[in-house]
């Protein structure tokens, strides 16, 4: 055994095995995803940007119960509630401060009517910090907030 070890040491077997490993990876397919031409689709439970949802009749699902306001660890949501014509509460203003949000999901869990939900948007960079205080109109599912954030 000692002779074999000495021989291995002289013939640099350990270095050659290392070189073989890197050569093997040279020939394997590459894992790069060339963004922005190719993108990876996030999984169903991905925690992207938050949006407000309405029910089939077009009414806000949110009933201004303030549960999400109380649940947020950083106090980023502020709601002003108001009674509508049918005596039910709905939010008059709903402001979400995205600049400090950590996307933890406590507000989504706290909501009893499933009004506030995660979406799969993650390209949220912007040039102006003031745009990160998002108002109710921009939080609906069909708004164009992403273009507004991205414009120069």
């Amino acid at each position: 055994m000692k002779v074999l070890d000495k021989l291995k040491k002289i013939l640099l077997i350990d270095l050659i095995i290392g070189l073989a490993v890197t050569f093997k990876y040279l020939l394997k397919p590459k894992v790069t995803v060339e963004y922005p031409e190719e993108k990876i689709e996030p999984q169903p439970r991905f925690r992207g940007m938050i949006r407000l949802f309405k029910d089939e009749n077009g009414r806000d699902l949110c009933v201004a119960c303030m549960q999400c306001v109380k649940a947020c660890p950083d106090f980023l949501i502020s709601i002003e509630g108001e009674r509508g014509p049918d005596k039910k509460l709905y939010p008059k203003t709903f402001t979400w401060n995205m600049s400090r949000c950590m996307f933890c999901g406590l507000c989504v869990e706290a909501c009893p009517t499933n009004a506030i939900r995660f979406t799969k948007d993650y390209e949220l960079a912007t040039y102006d910090k003031k745009k990160l205080f998002i108002q109710k109109e921009d939080l609906y599912a069909d708004s164009n907030i992403l273009e507004k954030l991205a414009e120069f």
Partner: protein, 340 residues
């Protein structure tokens, strides 16, 4: 008149263009190969397949601010990069890329000059680059580049000795120091010198890697005393010069290995008549192919191995490579004496 003045001028221009082209392509090749080894694509956006990446990097370095440290010695600071790069380029005048062709009756050889001390001249002159490194580190007026440059200089000097000692056995077979004669004697003997002198090849290659400050011997420029070693304080085009000088040096070492041990422009097995159809590929192309293999080997090694610590590096040279090449020299001389 034409032969004395115009032809060498054309050759100088061709050689300079060739060096620049090879360096640019080599850096692109290296970055792509590193990417492939690391299961990612290298740069592939600038230009087709990313070929113009180095041009973009050079332009970026050119337009950067030229910072000279406070109370640095200005003259020496500015001259150091030039001292590093000029000797290495000058030596290329002696490297033969092929035999020669006849154009319009003029004998156009593929090398600029052929003296009979070419080998010693090449090794000695290219080691002048050490001066540039020492001066660059000293002129920066800062503790850490100074220490880094001293380390780098002592590393290069120790491996010079091993480099020089390892090529002496070649002379037993070629009986001449001229690089063209060395290749021709490989043709006469019919076998590449690497098969006659594997240990000399091994020592020469490792000493060459250490000379050029590449991994696994690149501690002086990697993490020692924070950041950069001798080129910490350099920015802009001067830094680009140090960077390019390293790659030209790698090109030089690969070319030397090809000529001394792998037959230069000869085809494999030059003595076997059966394979003479390989002569269809011209000599310079064989040279380029072998050169490419060694450049790939440099890159492959850099991507795989960790780096030695500074004292282990010097120990490897003085206690490992130099005794090995001395022993090789003695054994070879005995065998040659017995055979003749």
């Amino acid at each position: 008149m034409v032969e004395v003045l115009i032809v060498p001028l054309i050759k100088i221009i061709i050689i300079l263009a060739f060096i620049i082209a090879v360096v640019i392509l080599y850096i692109w090749f290296e970055r792509r190969v590193w990417g492939f080894i690391q299961t990612r694509l290298g740069p592939n956006r600038v230009g087709p397949f990313g070929l113009l990446q180095l041009i973009a990097d050079t332009v970026k370095l050119l337009i950067k601010e030229d910072i000279i440290p406070y109370r640095a010695d200005r003259f020496v600071f500015n001259i150091a990069p030039i001292i590093v790069i000029v000797p290495v380029i000058v030596v290329f005048g002696l490297i033969p890329f092929g035999e020669g062709i006849k154009i319009f009756g003029i004998d156009f050889k593929f090398y600029l000059a052929n003296t009979n001390v070419a080998l010693i001249f090449v090794v000695a002159f290219s080691s002048l680059a050490v001066f540039g490194i020492i001066l660059g580190g000293w002129a920066s007026n800062s503790k850490y580049p100074l220490l880094g440059s001293l380390r780098s200089a002592s590393q290069m000097i120790s491996y010079e000795v091993a480099l020089g000692l390892s090529i002496v056995p070649i002379l037993f077979f070629s009986k001449s120091l001229s690089l063209v004669d060395i290749v021709n004697s490989q043709k006469e003997m019919g076998v590449w010198f690497v098969f006659l002198q594997p240990i000399a090849f091994f020592v020469f290659f490792i000493a060459g890697v250490a000379e050029t400050n590449r991994t696994p011997f690149d501690l002086p420029e990697a993490e020692s005393e924070l950041v950069g070693g001798f080129h910490t304080e350099y920015s802009g085009i001067k830094f680009a010069f140090f960077f390019l000088a390293e790659y030209v040096h790698i090109f030089l070492v690969s070319a030397l290995v090809t000529i001394l041990f792998f037959g230069g422009w000869l085809r494999p097995f030059p003595s076997i008549k059966f394979l003479s159809f390989l002569d269809l590929i011209p000599g310079p192309l064989w040279f380029l192919l072998k050169l490419c293999f060694f450049l790939f080997l440099f890159t492959w090694i850099r991507g795989t191995f960790p780096r030695y610590r500074y004292d282990q590096l010097l120990e490897l040279s003085w206690k490992g490579l130099i005794p090995l090449s001395l022993a090789n020299l003695i054994v070879t001389s005995f065998i040659v004496l017995l055979v003749r």
